[in-house]
């Protein structure tokens, strides 16, 4: 403890600093009045206002005043403590004080930004500053706890985000568990044909990375697996993973695919999930040729052996000596220890059935963009031929933008990728079929590198762009297999009815259907649209509010492949920073029992969700394990003899704040 923690006569000496934050605070709150007011509060020795307290000179003010005026407590009234508390605690420490002799007052997010009446906002700021001054006199010196970081990392989700994060970490020498729920990694990107705006083939750039994952000595790849439970805290997570049975031994199968050939079903006849039902598969199958791992699986819903137990099992025969097929395979539960977790669980596409007048699921020639991705893909169900369900090549195609995006009735947000993938599909469809392609858009959003140029190029290729929101799609033609797209062309100012053979819905991106459960399991937050919430939209875009858990890719919000990869790299770097530091410092706001005051009533013990409180039988007192305590304070509030205290949130401090906000000046 520093000599200066208390002044010679035992009374605290407080410095109060009012931040202008440019005009963010000073524009609404009278910062000079606050300074004058603060100077008159008890024990305040120095009160200053300054343009930007978080700047170097601002922090220097604190450091210098501590030395020059023998300050023992610091109060900064500026923005949210969630933003700059650490900055000012550090400045306090650099001035020679314990960093916890500091209290922050939020007069920006909680005052200047939310009130228009200057006088009212200033009065509120005064109340909040007074509360902090009352409170900070009671602060005690505290030490941060250090906990070691387990070097292994869990990456959840094997799309491009999870793949890139896992490879980055593995290449840095860290052991990664990559858990993917589907039978193969690759995610949505594996379904795409070409990628905008460069038109490089998705498989050509993705599959080498998939293979690298499988081959990497530092990556444990668990596909067809799901995380079912997460315990612990930063540095020390215990994760339970359920491995679903594939009915094929993963370490024995060599991916020769002879079993598929040999299946008693001569023809594939079940809708194939990877091709969104546009293609067919057998009960024993591999999702797509480059699936990783190259291991087949059996669908027990359609396999005759599972349904009747009387199949000839020609697949087993074909497998022969390898004996990879195991109809008795059971679900397996694995428990792993990791220090950090990266969530890369991706997105789902908007279900256009929610907009009935677009006729998806009613008119066979209305497709989603993802379905068309499979049609244009040479490895897809039509071998890359863009043909309608009746086998005919379309002569005119409508692509409708913003389906399930930028709409009060569905999702208000822009899905960011649809404009560009719609333009890409327009190019590919025109290239493959020579059809007239009409894009119906509200606005074209092409803000990425080389995006606008690509848009211009596709326009020059003769693709039509019609500005207007499609109001209706209805069948016409002799056989009713043509569709008429009705739209108000807002540039011409009139309603147009355009007959087409095929309609492609550029569906938006939505959170995974189980994002809510995943969020709860990992104890993180969601934004209002249901995507995972980052810690700060600008400065901590891959962090979550739970330390040691990071986000990558579209689970955090719609984004394209370059942004996803960049974010995955950032998430990996955040995890690496923790791992290589070796330990993390935790907030010291844990609870402890004042033994003399404890009556041994045991009220607190069942309240603790972390089993951090135990009972010392010989002493008849409760005791709190500081390592397990996470500092919620539920036991503190419940203790009938007030013998449990919470560091930084002691009863007396909170009472002082109550007194402070309510005291008359």
């Amino acid at each position: 403890m520093s000599m200066r923690d208390v002044s010679p006569n035992g009374t605290p000496r407080i410095g109060v600093y009012i931040c202008h934050c440019g005009t963010n605070i000073a524009g609404t709150v009278d910062v000079h009045a606050l300074r004058e007011y603060a100077a008159r509060l008890p024990h305040v020795v120095v009160a200053r206002d300054y343009k930007y307290m978080c700047s170097d000179p601002g922090q220097a003010l604190i450091r210098e005043d501590i030395r020059a005026h023998n300050l023992t407590r610091i109060v900064v009234a500026s923005c949210s403590p969630l933003l700059h508390e650490h900055t000012f605690r550090k400045a306090t420490a650099e001035g020679g004080l314990n960093p916890f002799y500091f209290q922050m007052v939020n007069i920006r997010e909680h005052a200047s930004w939310v009130h228009e009446d200057k006088e009212a906002a200033t009065e509120k700021a005064k109340d909040l500053i007074r509360a902090a001054v009352f409170r900070v006199t009671l602060h005690r010196p505290l030490e941060r706890r250090q906990v070691p970081i387990h070097p292994d990392v869990l990456v959840v989700g094997g799309g491009i985000a999870g793949i890139h994060a896992a490879l980055t970490l593995a290449n840095a020498g860290k052991h990664v568990y990559l858990v993917e729920r589907e039978p193969t990694i690759g995610g949505h990107m594996a379904k795409f044909d070409k990628t905008f705006p460069t038109l490089d083939c998705a498989a050509c750039i993705l599959t080498p990375k998939m293979t690298a994952v499988k081959a990497h000595p530092n990556i444990t790849l668990w596909t067809y697996s799901e995380v079912v439970r997460v315990d612990g805290y930063v540095g020390n997570y215990k994760v339970t993973v359920k491995r679903k049975p594939r009915y094929v031994k993963e370490d024995v199968c060599v991916g020769c695919l002879e079993c598929i050939e040999a299946c008693v079903y001569k023809d594939a006849r079940f809708p194939d999930e990877f091709n969104l039902g546009l293609g067919k598969r057998k009960p024993i199958y591999i999702p797509f040729p480059q699936a990783t791992p190259q291991v087949v699986l059996i669908d027990p819903e359609t396999c005759i052996e599972f349904k009747s137990g009387r199949c000839k099992k020609t697949c087993v025969e074909a497998c022969g000596e390898r004996r990879a097929i195991d109809f008795n395979q059971k679900e397996e539960i694995k428990e792993i220890q990791v220090g950090t977790i990266i969530l890369a669980t991706g997105f789902k596409t908007f279900d256009p059935r929610r907009i009935p007048y677009y006729g998806y699921g009613v008119y066979p020639n209305v497709y989603t963009a993802l379905e068309v991705e499979r049609l244009v893909n040479s490895a897809g169900p039509t071998g890359g031929e863009v043909v309608l369900r009746n086998g005919r090549k379309p002569e005119s195609v409508a692509i409708i933008h913003c389906v399930g995006s930028r709409d009060e009735n569905t999702n208000r947000y822009c899905s960011r990728v649809c404009c560009m993938y719609a333009i890409k599909l327009a190019h590919l469809i025109k290239e493959r079929t020579g059809a007239e392609v009409y894009n119906f858009y509200i606005d074209i959003r092409a803000p990425g590198k080389a995006f606008e140029e690509f848009y211009n190029r596709v326009q020059e290729e003769g693709v039509h762009f019609i500005r207007g929101k499609v109001a209706d799609i209805y069948p016409s033609g002799a056989e009713g297999d043509q569709l008429v797209v009705q739209v108000e062309d807002t540039l011409l100012g009139k309603v147009r009815k355009i007959p087409v053979d095929m309609v492609v819905l550029a569906v938006g991106l939505e959170p995974q259907p189980d994002a809510e459960e995943v969020r709860r399991m990992f104890n993180i937050s969601c934004s209002s649209e249901g995507f995972f919430l980052e810690r700060h939209p600008k400065l901590a875009p891959v962090n979550t509010f739970t330390d040691g858990i990071f986000l990558a890719g579209a689970c955090q919000g719609p984004k394209d492949i370059p942004d996803t990869v960049a974010q995955a790299g950032a998430a990996a770097a955040e995890a690496l920073a923790l791992i290589d530091a070796g330990y993390v410092e935790l907030e010291p706001n844990t609870a402890y029992v004042v033994e003399e005051a404890c009556s041994g009533c045991k009220t607190c013990i069942p309240l603790c969700p972390y089993n951090a409180i135990s009972f010392l039988e010989e002493k008849k007192k409760a005791t709190i394990n500081e390592v397990l305590c996470k500092g919620c304070g539920a036991c503190v509030a419940a203790c009938p003899s007030a013998s449990i205290k919470q560091n930084l949130f002691e009863d007396e401090m909170i009472f002082a704040e109550i007194e402070g906000v309510l005291a008359h000046a």
């Binding site: 997010e109 109340d127 304070g633 503190v636 009863d651 109550i658 906000v661 309510l662």
Partner: protein, 165 residues
């Protein structure tokens, strides 16, 4: 939403009839959900009544009923507690503990003659900045209608009560 000056005249708590009186509300917001939501309301520049003073706690489960009673005793006209939605507590179940204490506390308040509406518990997640705005405005209006909390027993009445006992 009225944005009348709060505070400079509010030394007077002479009664609901007085024009100068403004509701004073103390709020206890949990660090992870509701405090963050209030920050979001700020970054989104939402405007709401300036009558609430927020005290940050790590969890709504930390809110000791004594904090609430102390706030009333010291002149608060209303107390607002904000926590994570059920099932979303950063500390797993602190908000449930808060809910139980809240329900008991409302009964105690009734016995003490304090209107139940003066204590409010709201689940506000980190993304619900709009809810912070709505709840604060609504509660300010409710308290405004109720008028100031008369916590002091008038001298004569006290004397009568003492004599009667």
């Amino acid at each position: 939403m009225p944005e009348e000056a709060f505070g400079h005249q509010r030394g007077s708590t002479s009664g609901a009839g007085s024009d100068s009186w403004q509701p004073r509300i103390v709020a206890f917001f949990c660090n992870w959900c509701t405090y963050t939501a209030a920050d979001l309301a700020g970054t989104s520049r939402m405007k709401y009544a300036p009558n609430v003073r927020v005290i940050r706690v790590m969890c709504s489960g930390r809110v000791d009923p004594q904090f609430v009673l102390d706030a009333f005793a010291r002149g608060a006209d209303g107390v607002l507690i904000g926590g994570c939605h059920p099932g979303d507590c950063h500390y797993m179940e602190g908000n449930y503990k808060c809910l139980r204490r809240f329900l008991l506390l409302r009964r105690v308040m009734k016995e003490l003659g304090i209107e139940e509406e003066r204590l409010r518990l709201e689940w506000i997640s980190a993304s619900e900045g709009e809810k912070v705005r709505a709840v604060i405005n609504e509660m300010t209006e409710v308290i405004r209608r109720l008028g100031p909390l008369h916590r002091e027993v008038p001298a004569e009445r006290e004397a009568v009560e003492v004599a009667a006992s």
